[in-house]
Symmetry: D3
Subunit: 235 residues, 6 copies
């Protein structure tokens, strides 16, 4: 068999015979959800790049396959920021259902969803519904930025995680200069529409330091990676 | 005008002329979302009764109108417990959208959603989408059991909030005997289907003490009520 | 078993173990559909209160369970009357399908839908579709105000049943003063939109006497109740 | 202008320039809804042929245009009878909405829906919703077999109208031999699924005489035609 | 049995017992899809009349049943031409799915879709999805105007097939005078909306000769008919 | 302005301020659609990689922005090949509508869809519908493998384009060994379901040579690139 560990197992680098071979001995899959939305000065695809980087790293250590990422999520509140491409929540739920049913059809039975975007949370509701109809399917859900592990790292360094602040500022999400210093978190008057959100959030960050020490970022990444490796055991 | 404070302002006790009168001077509305689902030995409608009790209390103090509750929510994971009546998440989102559009049509402009059930969280995504299409609409969302205020009360008494444990055991949610003591929280192996959920959760509580002191329960209720009264200012 | 006759068997007063007990010996359920819509000077929830009162009475005599009412129906034509909260017809059909499928999932097999609102009639079409997919499910539909029995009572007293006239004026639907006398039925020029409907219907009644003798109202209620008790035999 | 009265004005016999000419002086349209479903020994398309015959006759006398018929309706209960082609009710509603919006787009403002099938009744709910969004649109709905006029004719001759009995047995719906005599109406135990419906209804008629005197049938047709001509005045 | 070859086997001329008889010995069905849309000076229903004429002819030679045509298709780009009645593509797909599922339910297993309108092509995607869920169903799709056979006839006579030009100008699609000569094909600047399409296409033809020799038209018809007869063998 | 030509302008390498800057002087966007499906021995993401490579090349020469690719398309017929992740066609249409509406919301007015997968063709129908509702939006659609230019190249070299044969075998779609020689095209018996498709297509190629000369592949790529550059003028 041509597939080996220590290599990132992405669908895009494989053909269907490779997947068929894989399914002879394993039935696990990582599915990356993200968003294409404003992240202040960071990449519009930050919410894809982070869970995909984690998936790649987890794949190298576990040999588990990584499906192509869904490059769009539900971001209705950011639609006044150019570059945000948002799916209606109903569309998003249908997409994920279709992907899970496709993968289940030829044998995947343990699927770990690596979600990179808070707006995608409603997907979980649909996954419960899908799980009620597909025998022997195990699904797990991981949202790195709200994990206990990452929270501990943040807490240890006195940093508060928030959208488009230090937390998402990795070397691989930076696409230009990042402002120095810290931003005071704005006051949020309820559930805002897109225009209000842009007025309130300004550059798009939800506040706090824009940058953290590279060592902290590495610690965050490793904490999330360990979580994922643990979850891939599906215990 | 025939409407007075200190009276619960529920739609069901009013006619359309009353609402028209109200809209002359106010445009606020409380919308109660809940669920009909297993709550261990507590009422199947606990998730409606709690936010509705809060809405009634807030209405008495503020004079703000209370729409009829939606008696069903999204509870796919509890469908193996008899008595659970669950809406598909897509249905639920449509329902809430329809209610908000109806109320907006004749003049409500500030709507506070009082949600009693975690599974209804995806509604927020749809509300953002709706808010993008309805000028001058303000929506706020309150989920009492995850509020900072209630959390503080729980913390103060060393109690951990969880589904169908002490947290939801009010005089008005009890419908029979409640077990004594405390239940060890079960291990949750990912996103379970309905059958697995029943096996894992047994009587349905997510663990912890089944009962708290009445004074604590009152403190919880008052904390949430104050939050709601504050949110009704829509600042 | 803790459940006894002569008591209203509402879901909200029970927990899931009670439902499971019930299903050991019975598989019947009453499902109440209504509307939140203008009823002239009567309660906005008249269409819920009437079938729910009937369900409660029938439950006391038969011991059959009553699911929580759906507080909203399809009322697009009344959306210019403040207080009307209308579901799109597609939403309404999805809701009822979800409720029926939920109840079927753990064992209900004979479901009597008690409908309080004419605009909900399309639900029947979806119920036929659902019935085609769920073996051994029996569904019956009862709309009290168009029943032969109620019609006979009305005819006996020379009264014509219509929306928000005497027919719906029960002690439990009155929420304030009701106009004296009778209203001439307006001319209906086809299928009107909401604005036209308000112009044409004025106070909202479709015409005729606003009030009937309490003895007549009791006769109406008893006639419908007997129908329901008969239908609960599912013969 | 090339269009003349005394000619049936069907879309299929016209091109788009003809419609554009028509819209210079008129904005009325007849829309025929029906069904493809069992009608005992009568044509599977009886529910299309009858309203279409009425539309043609009304068109000859009024010059009002007739859109192509929708050859399918909602008939879930007859799906065990070969030849029934049923749309889900949600599909049907979408179809009619699309047709009305299309016609409204280039100028039709008064649309008379000629419905030939009871199962299509839910369409009215959607039409109310559509009417709320299209200014100046007038819609009227006519179901010939439940009209007061046809009812009077039936009553006059001591005949009871029912599915696939004498009422629908016109020269243009007969496609073979019709049984002699009369059929006792079956007992209907609630809302039946397709298999039960076939068992209960046998040959498909709902009972009563299979045939009426040609003079009666003509009287029925003329009564409905006069209704339609009156409704085309949109008063 | 009353059914004979050399007769057009249309549903509308049959009753359900006829279909049941047919299914004893055959399980093939022809399903005609078309459109109600501008065809320059030709009938608004040209896209129905052509495949239906082919279906009738094929039925006479093969004895295969013809379902009632769907008189509407997806024609969003022609909605500025009066007389076009277009289904949203999502509606169209639902309609065809419902028809196929209905027919499959009581025994049809080989369905030949005779499509008369290019805008209906997306239906094929849905048919693949449906085919994945219905065992032993064979579906074939025939679009006469893009068939190899018709193309050869056109090529042989140096004629280019296009919307509403000679290709669709049969005796049975003409409803008035057809312009003489030929029209220069317009320049198409991408995917146009309905208003632009009307400006660009003018009378509605996509260009080329308006008329071809009757012998050519007959050759075209026969070529398509032979294709259909061949496809009805489902080899 | 920080954006320069000769650089690939992908959303993922930019932040929202970059997009806002771009929209000051340009309103064009390239949107890449593809599929994740079996391509015989080639990458499962061949249908994404090819149009994305073209988009990148076109972006370098024109400075036009490239949205993140949609990594999934409609491939129901390949669902028996492991690795195929297919969206229902209804889901796919919703996704693309959402992306177009998002981009239109903040100023994109000329969108070139670069489609890499035949199964995505139905998207065009939805785009027509969307275009009818968004003033001043210009949409163009390019499917490289059916373009006249690519066809000419193929014809010049006596090669026939087909799924997963030489046509899609670029250096950047190969993920392992490609078989030598040529495959006889299989016989296609109508519209097959997924299981039949796998039986019929075997390794997944639709037949013909597996490989073409690199010079031919370059010629194909350049031909498509020139088409795209021309279309980006939106004339």
């Amino acid at each position: 068999m041509g597939l080996m560990y220590n290599r990132t197992m992405r669908f895009e680098d494989l053909n269907w015979m490779d997947i068929e071979n894989y399914l002879q001995t394993d039935n696990r899959l990582m599915l990356v959800l993200g968003a294409c939305e404003q992240h202040a000065s960071l990449s519009l695809l930050s919410d894809v790049r982070i869970p995909l980087a984690l998936a790649d790293a987890a794949s190298q250590q576990s040999g588990v396959l990584v499906a192509p990422p869904l490059n769009f999520g539900s971001s209705p509140y950011f639609l006044a920021y150019p570059g945000t491409l948002s799916l209606r929540v109903s569309t998003l739920l249908d997409v994920v259902e279709d992907l899970v049913r496709s993968a289940y059809g030829y044998g995947f039975r343990r699927i770990l969803v690596l979600n990179g975007h808070g707006g995608n949370d409603p997907v979980r509701s649909r996954l419960y519904e899908v799980a009620n109809t597909l025998p022997d399917l195990q699904i797990a859900w991981y949202a790195w930025w709200v994990s206990h592990s990452v929270d501990e790292v943040a807490h240890e360094h006195g940093l508060k995680p928030s959208h488009a602040n230090w937390l998402e500022n990795f070397t691989f999400t930076r696409v230009g200069d990042v402002p120095p210093g810290s931003k005071p978190p704005p006051h949020i008057p309820g559930l805002m529409n897109a225009r209000q959100a842009r007025q309130v959030y300004g550059d798009g960050s939800f506040g706090g330091p824009y940058t953290a020490d590279p060592a902290v970022m590495n610690q965050v990444f490793q904490a999330a990676l360990q979580d994922i490796l643990q979850m891939l055991k599906f215990e």
